[in-house]
Symmetry: D2
Subunit: 418 residues, 4 copies
C-alpha cells in the first residue's frame, strides 16, 4: 500500500490501517473482505461497534426500505417517527425490564460527545468543577473527555480533573477508595467532586475489570456525599459483558450513563446519554450538535433492540460464549506459561497479557497474516484483545483460538531455540 491516496493525502494520525494494511471493500457478519478477495475474521469489531456483526441483513433491509420511502435522514432534534420508535423500543425493551427510570439525551454521534455532555451536566447540577477519573481510563479524544483519560498530559487541559487508581493488580484493592473518601470527608484542601466517571471494565486500559464490591463501594461513596456517578458504558455496554448494561452485575445504578458504539447495531454513528429525571436540568439547547438526529441510526438501533433484547436468549448466548472464551484462553495460558502472564477481561471482551510487552503486537501481526484481525490494548499495548462480534459461535471461536495457538507455538519454539 505505498504511494496511494491514503499515504499521500490522509493525515499521519491514521493508525489501524498501519497495523492491518489492506484495502477493505465489503463486510458481512463476522467477516471483512479486501480488494484482493481475501476474507478476514473480524475480532476488532469496530472497536466494539459491531456487536451484531457487519451488515446485519434485517437492519440492512430496514435501512434500504427507509431510504426508498424517503425517510427523513437528518433532523437535528426535531421530532421524527424514527426517533420515536427508537425511544419506545429502548424504554420497553431495555429500561422497563430493569425497572430503570432514565431520560434519553441524543448527543452528537460519538461516545466522546456523550462524555462531554456528562461532564458539563455534572458540573452544572452540582455547581462544582472537580471530576474524579481513574488510572487506565479512556473516555475519548475531545479535550473534555481527554481531560479525564489516562494520558501523560497535563497542561492546558480542563482544570479540576483528577485521577485516582483503578483497581487492577499491584495495590490493596479498595484502599484507594478509602483514601478518596477520606480526602472528601476531611478538610483536605480538595473541593468535593462533582462526579466520578468510571468504566466498569477498562478496555483501552488493558482489560481491567472492577469487582462488584469495588463498584458498590464507589457507588456508595457517591451517594453518601452527593456526588454524581457517571458510568461510561460506551465499549462494554450494549451487551458486551452479557447484560445490556455492564454495571447491573454489581446491583448498582448510575446517575448518568454514556452509550455509543454498538448502539446503532450496524455501525452507524450514534450516541446517547441516559440521565436520571431529577438531574435533567438542562436549558433547551444547552448542549446541542448538528448530527444528534441521525435517523438511519435510529432505525437500525431499534431493529437491533427488537432482534436481540426481547428475551434473555442473546444475553445467555453472550454469557456462555464469554465463559467458553475465558476457558479457552486459560488453556492457552496453561499451555504457554512462560509466554502468557494473565488472562483478563469479562464476557466477550477478554485477552491475554504477555510477559514480553512486545508480544501482543507480534501475535496480532501474525494473526493478520492468518486472516484474523485482532488488536492490542493496555498502556504498553501489552494485551491481545479478543473482541469478536457477540453473534460468534463457539465453533468459530475455537477455530480462531486454534490459529492463535499455532502462532504461539511458533513463537514458543523460537524462544526455546534462541
Amino acid at each position: 500500500m505505498n504511494n496511494n491516496p491514503f499515504t499521500e493525502f490522509e493525515s499521519n494520525v491514521r493508525s489501524y490501517c498501519r497495523v492491518f494494511p489492506t484495502q477493505f471493500t465489503s463486510a458481512s457478519g463476522l467477516y471483512l473482505y479486501d480488494t484482493e478477495g481475501n476474507k478476514y475474521l473480524d475480532f476488532l469489531a469496530g472497536a466494539g461497534t459491531l456487536n451484531y456483526g457487519h451488515n446485519h441483513p434485517i437492519m440492512k433491509s430496514a435501512l434500504v426500505e427507509y431510504l426508498v420511502d424517503d425517510g427523513i435522514l437528518h433532523s437535528l432534534d426535531l421530532y421524527t417517527t424514527a426517533k420515536m420508535e427508537f425511544i419506545n423500543a429502548f424504554q420497553s425493551l431495555v429500561l422497563k425490564p430493569l425497572n430503570f427510570n432514565y431520560k434519553l439525551q441524543f448527543v452528537g454521534p460519538t461516545g466522546a460527545n456523550s462524555v462531554e455532555s456528562a461532564l458539563k451536566l455534572a458540573r452544572k447540577i452540582t455547581g462544582r468543577n472537580r471530576i474524579v477519573a481513574f488510572t487506565g481510563a479512556f473516555h475519548g479524544m475531545s479535550l473534555g473527555a481527554l481531560s479525564v483519560s489516562a494520558k501523560e498530559e497535563f497542561d492546558g487541559l480542563l482544570p479540576g480533573m483528577e485521577v485516582t487508581r483503578y483497581p487492577y493488580e499491584g495495590f490493596t484493592t479498595g484502599v484507594e477508595l478509602e483514601l478518596l473518601e477520606q480526602l472528601i470527608e476531611e478538610p483536605s484542601g480538595i473541593a468535593k467532586p462533582a462526579a466520578f466517571i468510571v468504566e466498569t471494565t477498562q478496555c483501552e486500559g488493558g482489560l481491567n475489570v472492577a469487582s462488584n464490591q469495588w463498584l458498590q463501594k464507589l457507588s456508595s461513596i457517591a451517594r453518601k456525599h452527593d456526588i454524581l456517578l457517571i458510568i461510561d458504558d460506551i465499549q462494554v455496554g450494549c451487551g458486551r459483558t452479557g447484560s445490556f448494561f455492564s454495571f447491573t452485575r454489581a446491583g448498582i445504578e448510575s446517575d448518568i450513563i454514556c452509550l455509543s458504539k454498538s448502539l446503532s447495531g450496524i455501525g452507524l454513528p450514534m450516541a446517547l446519554m441516559l440521565l436520571k429525571p431529577e438531574i435533567d436540568q438542562w436549558s433547551p439547547g444547552e448542549h446541542n450538535g448538528t448530527f444528534r438526529g441521525n435517523n438511519l441510526a435510529f432505525v437500525t438501533a431499534r431493529v437491533a433492540l427488537e432482534e436481540y433484547w426481547k428475551d434473555v436468549y442473546f444475553s445467555n448466548h453472550v454469557k456462555e460464549t464469554g465463559k467458553f472464551l475465558g476457558e479457552k484462553l486459560l488453556e492457552l495460558k496453561q499451555q504457554f506459561p512462560t509466554i502468557i502472564e494473565d488472562v483478563r477481561g469479562i464476557g466477550l471482551v477478554q485477552g491475554l497479557r504477555f510477559f514480553d510487552k512486545s508480544m501482543a503486537s507480534l501475535v496480532s501481526k501474525k494473526a493478520f497474516e492468518s486472516k484474523i484481525i485482532i488488536e492490542t490494548c493496555g498502556a504498553y499495548d501489552e494485551v491481545l484483545k479478543f473482541l469478536p462480534p457477540l453473534i460468534i459461535s463457539k465453533d468459530i471461536l475455537t477455530e480462531a483460538i486454534s490459529t492463535i495457538q499455532g502462532i504461539l507455538s511458533q513463537v514458543d519454539k523460537t524462544l526455546v531455540t534462541s
Copy 2:
C-alpha cells in the same frame, strides 16, 4: 405534542422541536413532511447540513446500491474503497482546482470534533497553549470547542482561551486587530497564541460577515508571528457562500480548515480537518474516534462533489441566487423601515435583524404556521436566518419571501394600530 414519548422520555435539552413542534416522517428536496401530511419548505436545512436538499435521488441510490452490495459501513480508520474514492474526488474536484495542498484528517463525525482536533494540533505544533477566538463565535459544544465560543461562561473551561472582538458593527473595524497585534509584539504579559480560530461569517453569532480586508489582516498577523490560522468553515463552507470554501473570496489560505455539516451531502454525520502537510505532525492514533470511518457518508460525499463541483455551474447558481436573496431582503427592509433594522449575511445565508429583539422569533413562529421552517440566530435570537438548501430556485425563494412579507405586513398593522 403533549404526553408523548418525546416529552416523557427525551431530555429537556431538546430545542428545535419546541419551535417546530410536529412529528416529521419523510423529506425530499426542499421539503419536509409530517405525520399529518403537512408539507414544509425547509429554510433550516439541517442548520446548514442539507445544502443539496433532502434525500437527493442520486446520493440516495448510491447509498442503496452500496448497502445491497454489502459495502463496509464502519471501518474506524482502516483503508476502504469508499474512503479512497472520496479522497480522490476531494483532491481532484476541490483542492486541485484551487491549487491547494492539504492533507485530510478524518475526525469523529461532528464539526466540534474537527475543532477539538484543530485546537490540539495547534497546541502541539507550536508548543503554546493560548488560542484567540472572537466575540460572537460558535465552534461547538464539547468542552474544548465551547472554550473558544462566545458564551458567558468562564470557570472550568480550558485555560488559555481568549476572545477578542469580531468586526461587526459598533467598533472601528480593524482596530481590534491592531491591538491584538500590539499585545503580541510588545512585552505584554500575554504569551504568543498558538492559533487564531475564526469563522469568515458568523452564523450563530447573528450573520456577521468579516470583510476581505479584515480577513487578510488577520491572516497576515498570523503569518508574521508564526501563529496558526484555523478557519471553521463548518457552516459556511461546502458552497454556502458561492465557493466551496468561504475564505477564498479574501484570497487567503488557512493552516487548518474545519469542515462538516454539508460535507456528506445528504445529512449523514461526517467531519474533516484539512491541514497543511508541514503541520501534519500527529503521531499515529494521537487523535482518534470510533466513527471516523462512516463509509455511507464517504459514498454520498463523493457523489455530492461529482454532482455539484465538477464545474462552476453550481457555484454560479449559488452566487446569483444569493444576490437575488439579498435584493429581496433589502426590498423588505425598504418596505418595513420601522421593523427591519438590517439585512445581514452573505451568499445563501442571509437574514433580517429587527429593531425589536423578540420579532424574529415571532416571525419564525408565524412562518411555521404558513409551513415554512426558518430559524433565528444572534446572541439575542434577534435575526431571522434564511438558510435554504442551495439548490433552491429564485421562484421558490420569491414565493417564500412573499409569505414572510405577508407576515410582516400583519405585524406592521398591529404595530400601527396599537
Copy 3:
C-alpha cells in the same frame, strides 16, 4: 567582589548587587557609604522605599526610644499602642483631609502581599474570577501578583488573569478601554471581570503615565459595570508624584488601594491595603500573615506622616522639584537629540528613554563610577530612572544631572567619532 560570601553562598537570583558591586555599610539622608569609604548619591532610593532618605534622624530616634522602652516588636494582629497611633495618624493626616473613607488592612509586609490580598478580596466580593491588568504592569513576584504582571509567562499561573493595553505610545489612547468595555457589555464569551488592577504610572514598565482622562474612563467603566478598581500605589504613592496618593490628580477614587515601600518612612517592611468599608467582608483571619504586625515600622510610619504630611509644604516641595527635574531632563534631550528619545514620568519619578536600548545601562554604569546610584527600567531596560529621595534639593539635583550630562557628552563624542 570575587570569591566572597555573597558570590559563594548567595543565590544567583541576586541582581542589584551585580550592577552596583560594592559592599555598603551605612547610609544617611541622600547618601550610601561603602566599606571602602566611598559616598554615593542614592537615586535608587530603595526602589521607592526611601522617599524621606536614609536613617531619617527623627524616625531613627523614635526607633531607639521604642526599643529602649521594650516596645512590643512583633504582634501578629494583636492590638498594640504603636499600631493604634499609626492608625490615628493615617486617618487624621492622610484620609480625613481628602474626605476619604477607607478601612486599613495590615497585610504581610510586602507590596506583593497587599496585591495578593486585593486579588483575593475582589474575587470573594464579586464571586467572579477574572481580573484585568495592563501591559507593562508590575505588581509583584508571588504567583498571584505575577499573574497580573506583564511577563511573557503563561502556563501554570492563575486562571482568569487578563491583560489589555496600557496607554503609552503607539496606540490611539482610549480605544483599548472602549474595546474593553464592549467585550464586557456584549455577549462575548468573556465573563465580567471582578476587578481592574492598575498603576497610575508604571515604573518598572518604563515610566508610563496614564492621563487623567484615561484614569477617569477606567474608573467610570468599573463603576458602571460593578467591577472593583484596585490601584497599586506601591511605588508612586506615599508622595512620589506630589500628593500622598498618585490618583487624586484624576479626581477619582479606588475601591482598593495597595500601599507599601515608603509607607514605613525609614525602609522597614510594611504594607497596607486600604479598602472601602462596604467591601470589608473578610471573615476574621481569612487573609493573615506572621509579620503583619511589624511595630517598629508602625512607629516610623507614624513619625513620617507627622513630619511630612501635616501641611502642604512637603507636597509642594515634591511638585516643584519634580517640575524642575522635568525641565532639566528636557534640556538634556534638547542637548542630545540623537541620543535621548523621550523624557518620561511624573513628579519625582522621571527618566530618559534612549534611542539605543543599551544606552541606559551604560549611563547607569558610568554614573556608578561617578558615585551616583541610578537604575534602569522598561521592558528592555531602555529607560534611565531618576528616583531620588523626595527630600532632595534643586541644587543637588542640578549637580547630579550635570554629572549625567558629562557622561552623555562623552558618549556623544564616541558616537560622533565612531
Copy 4:
C-alpha cells in the same frame, strides 16, 4: 475595646485581637504587657516567631548600636556588611556542622514569599507544573502558597496543585505514599510532579507529626523520580523541635528549605529560601522583592545564631523541656480522660486535642483570663497549642500547666454536674 480606632478603622480580617482583646504596649522575655498594666505569659510566641522570647537584650542592644551607627536599613539585594555577617554565621553555625551544602536566597520577608519562590523554582527547574501537597497543610496566604494549603477552595487557584493525605490518624500510614508513587510510575494520566511540599510537623493543621519512616519514604520517592522535595520549616524550624532544622531527625535532606518566623530572632520580618547549589538556576532578578534586604533583621538573626547555636546547649534544653512538656500533657490526659482525646506534637510545639471540638477555644479563653496567651489550631480549632518561647524553664512551664489544669478541673466539674 469597643469603638476604638481598631474596630472603627481596621479591617474585619483581624483575628488574634478578637481572641485576646486587650491593647499591648511592651514585651520582654516570656511576657507581654498591656496598657492596663497586666502581664501575660506568652504561649503564642508570635505564632512561632519568638523562639528566643521578646526583646532579647543582646539582640536589642545590637539593634540600637546599629541604628546609632547609621547602619544601612534597607538595601534591596545590594551587598551589605550586615548581610555578609549573617551569611557567614549561618554557614559556619548552622550549615557547616551538619555538612549541609545550600545557597541562601533572601526573599521577601514573609514565609509565604519563601514558599512562592520555592514553587516557582521547582517548576522552572523541572519544566513541570504539578506540585503535590498534603492534607492539613498550611504554607501561607498568597495565592501560590494558598494553592498548596488545605483549604476547601478550588476554582481560580493555581492549576496543577494537588493534595494527598498527610499521615495522621485514621489511615494505614504509608499507603498514601505507596499510592502516590504508583500514580507516578504507572501511565496514570497524571503528569509527574515538579515537587512535593511538606511540613515535617503540621502546626496549623493540628500538630500532626510525620514519622521519620514516612519522611524517609517521601524523600526516597522524590529522589527516585527526580522530583524536588521542598520542606516548609517556617514554623517548626529554627530550633522548635530541638534541632535547628526539623527534618534532621529523619536523616534526610531537602532540595529546598523554607525558613522564616524565628529566623530574625527578635520578631523582625525576614525569610530565607535555602536551595541546593545545583538547582540555583535563577536568572538575576527572576524572583525579587522590595524588602528582601531588611538589615535590622540580618543583625538580630546573626546575634541569635551566635547566642544560641554555637554549641548543643540550647538544642539540648529544647529537647529536655519538650520532653518535660509532653510528660506534663500526658499527665493531664490521664487526669481528664473524658475531656482530652490526645496529646500531640513534638519538641516545644505540643498540644491537647479535646473530644469536644469547642473545648480548646473555651480553655484558651479562660487561660487568657488567667493571663496566659495560648492559641488553638487544627481544622476545627480543636487543639490547644502550647508554643512557648524556647527559652522557657521547666518551672514556668509547670506553673502554666497547673493553671490549665485548674481550668480543666472547673470544666470537668461543670460537665459532671450538667
